[in-house]
Symmetry: none
Subunit: 253 residues, 2 copies
């Protein structure tokens, strides 16, 4: 049996039964658990199933995001400190653009209940969290929703950001460096990020130190476009100095 056939069959089993688990699939198909894990990983990347510890569940069956809890594992501590530091950069009253990204989402979740802000975002998870915040006037930016990031992109999003001016934009990047600026893997998402930071008077970048010197496919701005970078202590003082000389204030939380 070829791998794609097996994967197809796994998908069918997952949808029929609502769940599959690694060990019984391994028995079923007479292969090792590693192979099954690889299959599940492939199906997960394709967005067809959702991986869980010990097996998988067909996509769309959960109406919440396990990865919001999962992601916390990766550099959770740093992200938390960054998120808390970023709160101080929000204006007391005014308009804020929030980019998609787990660190930004954490910051959004930590906005105190008594805050009064106007928030504009193209991130579905962030919007969901802020939707019942009594003091926040929330605006969602429309567009095609990318499955992976649950962020709105394309024409509607670009136009919406082109029509507004905000006091602060809080953005995330998958990679940043003095030479190559701000990068992310997806072109459409990069375009929206670019529109978002253009729409704000002040740009705050949240990025843990593992993103430093990383480059990804799509560039959406120069480091010089960023007024303030909030990162963690994993960024060396020398690197921080380089960035500050380029005109971006650096906070190492």
């Amino acid at each position: 049996m070829y791998a794609p056939e097996r994967q197809q069959e796994i998908l069918r089993l997952a949808r029929d039964g609502g769940r599959v688990d690694v060990v019984s699939l391994a028995e079923e198909f007479q292969v090792t658990a590693e192979t099954i894990r690889r299959d599940l990983k492939a199906l997960d990347r394709a967005g067809l199933i959702r991986r869980v510890h010990g097996g998988a569940i067909p996509a769309g069956r959960l109406d919440f995001e396990p990865d919001l809890a999962e992601r916390e594992s990766t550099a959770a501590d740093e992200k938390d400190r960054i998120a808390r530091a970023a709160l101080a950069e929000l204006p007391a009253e005014g308009t804020v653009i929030l980019d998609a990204g787990s660190t930004v989402a954490r910051m959004a979740a930590a906005i105190p209940p008594e805050a009064t802000l106007t928030v504009v975002t193209h991130s579905l998870p962030i919007a969901a969290r802020l939707a019942d915040h009594p003091g926040i006037q929330l605006h969602i930016v429309g567009g095609r929703v990318r499955h992976r990031t649950r962020a709105a992109v394309d024409a509607w999003a670009l136009r919406a950001y082109g029509e507004i001016r905000a006091d602060v934009a809080v953005v995330a990047a998958n990679g940043f460096s003095v030479e190559h600026g701000l990068t992310t893997p997806d072109l459409a998402e990069a375009a929206v990020k670019r529109a978002a930071l253009t729409a704000a008077r002040r740009v705050v970048l949240l990025a843990d130190s593992s993103k430093y010197a990383q480059e990804h496919f799509a560039r959406f701005g120069a480091l010089g476009d960023v007024d303030l970078l909030i990162t963690d202590t994993g960024l060396t003082p020398e690197d921080a100095g380089d960035i500050e000389r380029a005109g971006t204030e650096v906070v190492r939380a």
Copy 2:
């Protein structure tokens, strides 16, 4: 049972019953209270429930106008039947507009994983549910988000619906009658609903029978704008007859 499955189930229990408590959940799922607490913490972080001493209560109400958990439980059975019947009205492939509303949300949650559709919605809860559905190309309509209904309204939303054409619009109403048409309490929301149904070739209204002969502040269309009404058996055959004579097909699920 996987942790996310358990969490999903806890969420369902919380929404159904309006509350859950740690010890009975621990018994129910045959795990220790610590595990349940971790689950509740995860759900709390995701913003879906609110933690209280000894248990939790649902927070993410994907609910409609007037009240909170009361509505969700009221007529839950009818709404489920209506939602299931509505599934049959979705095209096999094509574009669908989904209005905000708990019955529509139930239908959205029941869309099978193998469906391939383009969905446009201004409802945050519905978007959240469909965001990781592999076969669905999701578009969110932007706008100001109303806290009550978590639906986008105002200029961005109206313009977006003005720019598209869909095969079917599935809409909800707080009140409907032959004389006064389709009504809802909020003007801004009514405007969006009107735009949504204008953008579709075929309009399906989901409304349980308690909505019949109700009138609310803002009118967004005539019953004649609706091609098909799906309701429950609480609507008398005579009333159904009246409606059908006005040109709207009626299904009593």
